[in-house]
Symmetry: C2
Subunit: 160 residues, 2 copies
């Protein structure tokens, strides 16, 4: 088993979402939510050409989450599910991944919309969304195929 | 700036890809490539319900990559681009993200297809692919909109 790995924050997210209670659980449920990603100076040169993309993946660290739970009741279900079959934040490595909408890149800051991420969250990577690589037609989405709740709003169940 | 973060491998990928030279650069270019993810015991319970999904995101650590470069020539382009506008592996935190096809989950192992990941790569998270959350119609994909190369095969340019 490989030893532990060290990750450095490359920036921080500023958003209007101060706690999980009432926050959207995915960008698709966050249509009115905007935010700004502040990228730290050593990484700003790597932002070149990013503004040609419409959507970007933010990879970040859930900094306000309870410890790993192997089974969880997802926000959109009423039954305990295996953690890896959900997007719940209490993961062995609490890494989040959100495909947010890119508004503009300016002075080392990325302005974004469809934001489902809490204010102050450390960002660890940014990747462009490519239709060719990321957009798949799938027929089966497990337990989610029987879910009727389409609100997608969080509560405090996974909050530290 | 938040301090550094520690990540633990939750498993390891076994694949037929021994080096980057000749490997597919994304699952969409890896139609004939199969592999197995061995999940370490403390995390196996969290695999429950995963087999209902058709595709999963593997989040992993590029373990054979050169150091961070702010500007890179992507495999599919001939011009230097900002690293964050590419999926090149030499990132500040070399985290990879691949939407592979799920074949079956059995005895703590996940059998997968469309594998673009080198043998021995440490896995740090697994998330199900949800059409509702991950599939977006985007009109603009930056520099990639003018790319004609559709082979998607890697060479040694980012290999340590």
């Amino acid at each position: 088993m490989t030893n532990s790995i060290t990750v450095k924050p490359i920036g921080v997210i500023h958003s209007s979402l101060k706690e999980s209670q009432g926050a959207p659980i995915q960008p698709v449920f966050a249509k009115d939510s905007e935010g700004v990603i502040e990228i730290y100076e050593p990484y700003q040169e790597a932002l070149k050409d990013l503004d040609g993309f419409e959507r970007i993946w933010l990879i970040y660290w859930f900094h306000k989450v309870v410890e790993f739970r192997p089974l969880v009741k997802p926000y959109l279900d009423t039954v305990d599910r295996g953690l890896f079959a959900t997007r719940a934040p209490c993961r062995p490595n609490p890494i989040g991944m959100s495909p947010v909408r890119l508004l503009k890149v300016e002075d080392g800051k990325i302005h974004i919309a469809d934001v489902d991420i809490l204010d102050g969250t450390p960002v660890i990577d940014i990747k462009p969304y490519f239709s060719k690589f990321d957009k798949f037609e799938v027929q089966k989405c497990g337990w989610y195929d029987n879910v009727s709740d389409q609100k997608g709003i969080a509560d405090k169940r996974f909050q530290k």
